[in-house]
């Protein structure tokens, strides 16, 4: 039997999607350093929230928000669009869980 979904579980899903977005953004060779610096900066922020609040159970609307966000970035195939979302994705995810970006 599994326990309630926690914020750490949810952020784990978000970070997996974020890693895929980073890999897609790396296809823009001229922006490789920016992509990775940006990804590192936001990953650290999301990981810090997960470390601080990871044990909290999450409500259905919050889980739905992150799942919706993961679905949204899963549609992206253009690496330039992926770079836009390397900044946007964490902001949306953090707002969904009640954190300031």
């Amino acid at each position: 039997m599994t326990g309630p979904l926690t914020l750490a579980d949810l952020m784990g899903r978000a970070l997996d999607a974020y890693d895929a977005l980073t890999t897609l953004g790396e296809d823009v060779e001229d922006e490789w350093t920016y992509v990775n610096d940006l990804s590192t900066a936001w990953r650290e922020r999301m990981e810090a929230v997960s470390a601080a609040r990871g044990a909290e159970p999450v409500s259905e609307p919050i889980a739905g928000a992150i799942d919706g966000l993961v679905d949204e970035v899963g549609r992206i195939t253009d690496p330039h669009r992926a770079i836009d979302w390397l900044s946007t994705f964490p902001q949306v995810a953090l707002i969904a869980i009640g954190e300031a970006p």
Partner: protein, 226 residues
């Protein structure tokens, strides 16, 4: 130091049509009184793949909470306007997003300075200095208290050319004892802008960054001083 309208080439004429589109004013007016989270909603939708209203509502549960009808109504209006931009197609929406940041900047500035001193697409000229080809997006033209703004949709738009142009204006103005404040307005998070700025070798010390979280400073602080 003096200001001058930019040359109206073909690109400028097309872009002027975008700037004049009522959708730009509608979205900018809504975003001028939006919370940072509502501004992120607009950014996400205008960058997004899906145009499904319910999908976006699902991604922003805190903005569509039935316990706060006023916030939900404004969020819904912002979502509608943002979807209208997103549905224009990739190339056109890119132009709309740029025009939107400029319009939003002008609206917020007009809460602090008289609207007639706020101008768009202007060059700054100095005697003996070759004029920049590209105009500044928004200017506040007041003797002794001029302000110059370049506007970007995302942090990735920050580049050496933009930073040099802003800093050149500041340096030349200082040389003629007419100091101006120069700022970069970016509709993106401070964190992303700082990552981008850290990669630049162009001068940044004299340029103020106004990011998505600090946009409201345009309405209260000269040059959006930090």
């Amino acid at each position: 130091m003096r200001f001058q309208d930019a040359v109206k080439d073909a690109r400028a004429v097309v872009y002027a049509g975008i700037q004049a589109d009522p959708l730009v004013a509608r979205a900018a007016t809504l975003l001028a009184d939006a919370t940072p989270a509502q501004r992120v909603l607009a950014r996400a939708v205008m960058n997004g793949e899906t145009t499904d209203t319910d999908g976006w509502r699902r991604m922003f549960p805190t903005l569509f909470d039935e316990g706060d009808p006023a916030r939900t109504a404004r969020s819904a209006a912002i979502l509608d306007a943002s979807l209208d931009v997103a549905e224009r197609g990739e190339q056109v929406r890119s132009q709309f997003r740029g025009a939107l940041v400029e319009e939003l900047t002008a609206i917020l500035l007009a809460r602090r300075v008289p609207p007639d001193v706020i101008r768009r697409e202007r060059r700054v000229l100095f005697d003996g200095v070759r004029a920049e080809v590209h105009p500044y997006d928004v200017t506040v033209e007041r003797a002794g208290a001029a302000e110059v703004y370049d506007c970007k949709w995302g942090a990735r738009g920050i580049n050496a050319d933009v930073l040099h142009q802003l800093d050149d204006a500041r340096v030349h103005a200082t040389e003629v004892d007419e100091p101006i404040r120069v700022a970069l307005v970016v509709f993106d998070a401070v964190r992303s802008c700082e990552v981008r700025l850290a990669q630049q070798t162009a001068p940044t010390a004299g340029t103020t960054l106004v990011a998505l979280e600090t946009l409201d400073r345009l309405a209260t602080r000269p040059g959006a001083a930090a």
